[in-house]
Amino acid sequence: MAAGEAQSREYLRRHRLPELLQRLGALLLFHRPERPREFLIQVLERVRAGRRAEGEFPFLLDEANVDAMFSLLDVLGQGHIRPAQYREALKTLGLSTDDLELADDVKITRRVFKKGMRKKMLESWSVY
């Protein structure tokens, strides 16, 4: 591989640009704004604000969505889900499940689920 190409790949990896572009794409296709350029500017400014702890990162899922997700997983309406389901949910959203130390018989309640989700989403954006 030519030196220039290796450098560029390293740059992309270091700043996690492919993931960022994918998120931008997802946001665009979900919201389908009339002026995509302005929309992207706003999204990036929110990332910048979130980075400085001045505002919220542009999460694709808001609290209502996370709630709905929990209800979908908790089919029987028991009020809790299994750790395996929790892991799957995180994986589906592309969030990391590395530092999850949960025994297999622990019950994940709605509150724990929502808190965990939020923490993971925040983490995933903080790298920017």
Binding site: S8, L24, L29, R32, P36, R37, L40, I41, R48, R51
Partner: protein
């Protein structure tokens, strides 16, 4: 009965799929351009960089190189392009005499001593000029650079990539002759010619001087050097380059240059063709549609065919349509539209794309198509002169036994036996052709206005020539006609 119909009409429109949104907004290109800039500059703070890049909105600003041997007309082309696009012109003389850049003095010193300015110095000057805010915002036209491979590489490593490279060419004799008549206006730096391009303003005429370094010897020397360097440059910029013949009236040169710099190069953006072929009967729409469908795996929809199939299949709609077809009356727009909408929203059309010929026939139908959320992304108008239409249609024959279609002149029947039994479709009788043509012509102008971004096809050519033209229009993104 009427109530049920109304309910069906009021059914909510499907939300447009994300794919159509992405295509219409050019999302792929938007993100790709941003990524390109990121990789060229590799800023430490990508987020900040991206915000600024998006705010600049200069994805379509021209980045053009105009190259060519001496006396080919580079200056004229470059100046014209800059006027048209309101871009910045950068050439040898603007770099040395108009601007004050960091290394201008050094460069001038070389010139004073009659020495050739080193490539690295030129590259630095160009790079500094092009990173100026006005070039970034308005775009630039680089005239006469890069002159050789080394300069080209240096420009590339400083991140300067032209989007279009215009390469003017003409034979040496023409060029030497031309340079004899070259005259310069010292005030505006415009280039004129004693024979080919004489200014109309007498004030300008009086000012004109002969340029300095222009003895026949000098020009021949420069020509030799140009020919030596040309193959390398051609090779480097192959993908974005177009050679344009400079030995034509300048109006023609300029219009070819403009058409070229407005094209967008083939991109990797996902693209589902939704093609409309419109044109008079006999212009070859169905043939081209079949060729495109075969090569690119898109669904070929002929309106007339669709109607007949619906009747033959005895579908609900088919039964409604049957009486019209039987009596020879035109099928009402509402039914046709319903049939089309159904067909075009089928899964195979949505995923592979489609090519539709023979509809819409007038603006009302076009508007209804739009309202039904069916928006073609390539529209072609076939143009064919009256005599050719007559010739093609009036000589059409069909063999009633095999169903094969023949043409008396262009595709005669192979044996006299077949020839004897050929029949003509009443539609192709002269007076009927006239009638169909009249209807077509009364509607076509409004349709041409309705589809602003359409392509015009000269249908009076060999089918494969036509096919190549249509193909290139479909494969490349729509040209950028902002200015």
């Amino acid at each position: 009965m009427a109530e049920a119909e109304e309910e069906e009409d009021a059914a909510p429109a499907r939300p447009p799929p994300a794919g159509i949104y992405a295509e219409e907004q050019g999302l792929f290109q938007l993100l790709q351009n941003m990524l390109e800039e990121l990789l060229i500059h590799k800023p430490d703070d990508p987020i900040e960089f991206m915000i600024n890049h998006l705010k600049q909105n200069n994805d379509d600003a021209p980045r053009i190189c105009v190259l060519g041997p001496p006396a080919s007309g580079k200056t004229t082309v470059a100046m014209w392009l800059c006027k048209h696009f309101n871009a910045i012109r950068v050439s040898q003389e603007t770099l040395l005499f108009k601007e004050v850049l960091m290394q201008t003095e050094e460069a001038k010193a070389y010139k004073e001593r009659n020495q050739k300015i080193p490539n690295a110095l030129w590259a630095n000057l160009i790079q500094e000029r092009l990173s100026n805010v006005d070039c970034i915002k308005q775009g630039w036209v680089l005239e006469g650079f890069p002159e050789n491979q080394e300069q080209a590489w240096m420009l590339q490593s400083s991140g300067i990539f032209p989007r279009h490279v215009v390469m003017l060419y003409a034979s040496d004799t023409v060029l030497i002759e031309r340079s004899g008549g070259k005259r310069l206006d010292p005030l505006t730096q415009e280039v004129f010619h004693t024979t080919f391009d004489w200014p109309s303003d007498p004030l300008v005429q009086q000012r004109l001087v002969k340029p300095e370094d222009l003895s026949e010897q000098e020009v021949s020397k420069k020509l030799l050097e140009y020919h030596r360097n040309f193959p390398d440059i051609f090779h480097i910029y192959q993908k974005v380059l177009k050679s344009i013949n400079a030995d034509q009236p300048s109006v023609d040169v300029l219009s070819q240059v403009l058409a070229f710099v407005q094209t967008r190069h083939r991109s990797d953006a996902p693209f589902t063709p939704r093609i409309l072929f419109l044109g008079p009967p006999g212009s070859g729409k169905s043939l081209q549609a079949a060729l495109i469908a075969q090569k690119y795996d898109v669904i070929n929809i002929c309106c007339g065919q669709l109607l007949k199939e619906a009747v033959a299949d005895n579908t609900k709609l088919g039964e409604l349509i049957k009486p019209y077809i039987d009596s020879g009356c035109p099928v009402p727009d509402k039914l046709v539209l319903k049939l089309l909408t159904e067909r075009l929203s089928a899964l195979d059309c949505l995923s592979n794309g489609w090519v539709l010929s023979g509809f819409p026939r007038d603006v009302e139908q076009g508007e209804q198509l739009q309202k039904a959320q069916i928006n073609p992304n390539r529209v072609f108008f076939f143009h064919l002169p009256y005599e050719s239409i007559m010739e093609r249609l009036s000589q059409r024959r069909t063999d009633p036994v095999t169903g094969e279609r023949y043409h008396i002149t262009f595709r005669p029947a192979p044996t006299p036996e077949i020839q004897a039994r050929l029949r003509q479709n009443p539609r192709d009788e002269e007076e009927n052709i006239e009638r169909r043509l009249n209807i077509y012509h009364s509607n076509i102008k409004a349709l041409e206005d309705f589809y602003q971004d359409a392509f015009y096809v000269n249908a009076d050519q060999d089918p494969y020539v036509i096919f190549e033209f249509i193909e290139s229009c479909i494969i490349k993104p729509l040209p950028c006609k902002k200015h």
